[in-house]
């Protein structure tokens, strides 16, 4: 019998295979906060799946744009996105890391210009994808603990 951890949704997005413990960060990265009060969000953490432990996020009535989704790759490189319409998966894709990461990660260097009051967004250049290594565009310092530096 199939065990139902999270109820199926009619329309919206299911983000599956999120690195365990990172579901809330995924929501934060997607900017899903109070302003999405009208859509139902369900979260399942530490779900045992076929490929091991994972987190799952379901966002009803919202189809997440691939561009937004790529941000997720920073903390959940194995995540998959399922777009649901009328209970059917109509689109499915894996996240991929963009070449530049803008406005998502904060630079750990306190003396970096991007940490001041300048009218700029933080910007990181991806140096390698596996393992993920990113470098501040401004001060060129490499981010050491990316997950903890997410804005």
């Amino acid at each position: 019998m199939k065990e139902l951890k999270v109820q199926p949704i009619k329309n919206g997005t299911v983000i599956d295979h999120i690195t365990p413990g990172n579901a809330l960060k995924v929501l934060k990265i997607l900017g899903i906060t109070e302003k999405y009060a009208d859509s139902v969000i369900s979260i399942a953490m530490n779900v045992v799946g076929k490929r091991g432990v994972k987190d799952i996020v379901k966002v009803e009535n919202r189809e997440i744009d691939p561009k937004e989704v790529n941000k997720i790759a920073l903390i959940a490189p194995n995540a998959t996105i399922n777009i649901i319409r009328n209970y059917e998966v109509v689109e499915k894709y894996k996240v991929s890391i963009p070449d530049e990461i803008v406005g998502i990660v904060k630079c750990a260097n306190p003396n970096c210009i991007s940490n001041g009051k300048e009218p700029i967004e933080t910007k990181f250049i991806v140096k390698s994808r596996n393992p993920l290594r990113i470098k501040c565009y401004y001060c060129e310092r490499e981010a050491e603990d990316i997950a903890s530096q997410i804005i």
């Binding site: 210009i113 001041g116 300048e118 009218p119 401004y138 001060c139």
Partner: protein, 308 residues
Amino acid sequence: MKFEGRDVISIRDFSKEEILHILDVAEEMIPIAKGEKKSSLLNGYIMASLFFEPSTRTRLSFEAAMKRLGGGVIGFAQPGTTSMQKGETLADTIRTAESYCDVIVMRHPQEGSARMAAQFASVPVINGGDGAGHHPTQCLLDLFTIRREKGNIEGNTVALLGDLKYGRTVHSLAYALALFGVDMIFISPKELQMPKEVVEECREMGANIEVKNRIEDLGNVDVLYVTRIQRERFPDPGEYKKVAGSYRIDMDILKKAKEDMIIMHPLPRVDEISPEVDETKNAVYFKQTFNGVPVRMALLALVLGVVK
């Protein structure tokens, strides 16, 4: 190779061919830099010299470079005199300054400031040092000095000595020397060793690198590049004294070195080099300081598009 309108933020923005071209143009500038030949090459151009942190040497040599070429200079030497003090952003200061000038030279205490300024300025920005970040004109004048004194950059063995951990200028220099296939010896106290990734990168670029914690013998060294070991790096003043003392260049060390080894230092120095060394023909650090002028002249003329 196109220089007109380009920013000079990091030495990494330039290829080996471009670096050599800058040095060639600098070579032609020497008689003008010395005042032996008059020039009106940059007549009618204005350079804004924005020094948010004092650096007499860099500022004076940029201003001298611009004026020797007949150009004008506006600007400030310390932030106390600017509206930054009133809380203005660097971005706004840059947008203001660029409407008065053709090129901006800036020094700022924060890393990445020059890169950001270049985003906001439509005129070229030349980085005169951004915090512990880049100082590309220092790097270029170091390369220029090696080429003038040794005839070539390639084929030399260069020892970088002192604080190799902090301050990206010495990292940029190592990168630039590796670009020219120069073999290097990194000599520093254990606490101030060259970061591993810099050593690795230089090796990947094909340079032979030796890492040492003592001066020992400098028998095969052609260029000895000395940097300052800052007191602040050591919580214990006794430890600082011990370390600084064992890295001091004096006549005894010179005796064991190649006769034509040159000694460089970005200055200011404290007591890394004994004053008696100044009188030897090995000491080229004052020439190195002068070389900042022709190199900066070359950059100004190139980014303004007056020299191709």
